[in-house]
Amino acid sequence: MKLLRRTFKNYILYSTLLLLVCAPLFYLFIQQLFVEEMEEELFHHKKNFFESAAYIKSDSDLTIYKLLNEEFQLKEATHWPVSDSLYSYSVYDSIEQELIPFRVLRCGVIIQNKNYELIIRESVVGSSDLVQAIVVIQTSLLILLLIGFIFINQNLSKKIWSPFYAILEKLKQYQIDKDTQIKLPPSDTTEFEDLRITVEQLVSKNRNAYLSQKEFTENASHELQTPLAIFQSKLELLMQTHNITREQADLISDLSNANDRIARLNKNLLLLSKIENNQFPSKQPVLLKEAVEKTLYLYKEKAEVKKMKTTVTDESETKVNVNPTLLDILLSNLISNGLKHSPEESELKIHIEKNTLHILNQGEPLKNPEKLFQRFNRESRTATGSGLGLAIVKEICDVEGFKIEYYFTDQHYFKVSFNLN
């Protein structure tokens, strides 16, 4: 969940809850206030009536008063004394066709020494409409407030967090092997400024570590070339000496094979660091089919020794914009890999489609296909390859922007996609 949404969720939950709880509470509260107000009014009327009652001297006065003040009803008391009581009731209004609620005060009054029951009533309709209106207005206000709050909060948060998102975006785009530095936008928020400085330092430390590791591989490989050359030359001189026994010859041969393997391994390591260091920058369009056929020709004899058949099919005339040396190495490694790991008398199939190269060969499924392109990953210890061939292929694909995929259905299947953009 996104950071902004997470805070939002809580805000909105709180606000909705508040609204749901407060709206009825508010309504009840206002309602209560009105009822109280109305009752005060009723008692006020009662007080007025008592004051007026002093001036009523005859029955006709009383009748006039009754006619003038509809809200008062006077009837002779059935019992005495009549205590003050408040209650509500509704009367059906035939004009409006609705029940009209009233609040009523009943009390006793003595006019001209006669006991009367006085009923003062007040229609609640007007006031309840008012209460409703007030509640609606208040609720709308609350909702508007909430919407405004969400809106402001969202914009403000976006603004406040923008340095954070900017840093995140830059970090996502950063590639340790390509970008020399990371430039993050400064912020006037202390925390983000801290974050920026820390990230920049971290990246530059990592970059240095990466560079020194890369440099180390390259330097180590360079430095190894000379002692390897010395060792090889001495072995060759040893071969020229006289009276070598069969036992010695076998030993020398084994040494020579081992030395060749080290030399090859070293050469491949060096090649790998060179590809990583982008030392093959120049590109030109190459007709893929021609390059494949040229490489296959180099391995013609190795295929013949294993009685293997190789086929190339192409319907697309695909041209690849690539460093020709890298393409040669890529094809050479893929093809030699295919030949090496195929059973005798099988077939190596190469098919070129528009911008893709498919290489298929038979063989047992891999135990760890996910490690196929890792350095020094070998399926079996008996294999004598450098363990770098496919790692080099992967590196070339990365550098040149190709995509390589490996599948196994009933045979090994490598797919290289070129010209991706």
């Binding site: 050359a229 010395i230 072995l235 071969m239 041969s253 020579s256 030392q279 180099l298 090496k340």
Partner: protein
């Protein structure tokens, strides 16, 4: 024939010298760029092996000096960098060939003899041992003046062995020589055995003495 080895690694220089001495070359060694420049300016060499990563200066500067002195002919650049840049730069400056360390001495021997043959026998470039003649211009091998049909690989193989005559050439060196630069070499020498068998058979059928000896466990030797 005089050869100059410019190589700062003494042990390697020693090996090279020892290997080439068997071919009756006069071999001199320079360990530093300064020494090399002195020698180069004072003497004429048929072939110069130049390591371009010297402690007291880049070997390429020696190459430039040689170019201004017009003594470029017959320079083989040796580099531990195995870098395409160096190779291209060196060849552009006019070097004849390029060897990447580590290399087999027999490969070095073949390159040197190719250069020397080209320099010494202009126009008439052929190697002959009794009944066997190799015409290096037409790439034709003949026995008793009758041409023998060889494949490209068989021809390369014969020339490689002849260039290192009387010395054991290892299977590994042959495999690398025949496979070329790009191809990854398999630890399988079957294809060499096949080529060698065919080559020997064709030469024998043409009536050639069996000069190519199999050296147990190690490789082959062209013996005359």
């Amino acid at each position: 024939m005089k050869i100059l080895i410019i190589e700062d690694e003494q042990e390697l220089a020693k090996s090279m010298k020892q290997y080439l001495r068997q071919e009756s070359y006069v071999v001199e060694v320079a360990y530093t760029a300064r020494e090399a420049l002195e020698k180069v300016l004072m003497h004429e060499y048929d072939c110069i092996l130049l390591d371009i990563t010297l402690p007291d200066g880049n070997g390429l500067s020696i190459l430039e000096k040689l170019k201004t002195e017009n003594k470029l002919d017959g320079v083989i650049i040796v580099s531990a960098r195995n870098s395409l840049d160096d190779k291209i730069k060196g060849l552009n400056l006019g070097a004849d060939d390029y060897l990447a360390k580590p290399y087999h001495l027999s490969e070095m021997g073949a390159r040197i003899s190719a250069i020397i043959r080209r320099k010494r026998f202009e126009g008439n470039n052929a190697i002959a041992f009794h009944e066997l003649t190799i015409d290096l211009i037409g790439n034709v091998v003949s026995v008793n003046k009758l041409p023998v049909e060889l494949t490209r690989k068989e021809y390369d193989l014969l020339l490689f062995l002849v260039s290192n005559k009387n010395r054991v050439v290892s299977k590994n060196a042959i495999a690398e020589h025949i496979s070329g630069d790009v191809a990854e070499v398999f630890d399988n020498f079957d294809f060499i055995y096949a080529h060698m068998k065919n080559l020997k058979k064709k030469l024998a059928e043409a009536g050639c003495v069996d000069y190519i000896k199999t050296v147990y466990g190690l490789g082959y030797k062209f013996e005359v």
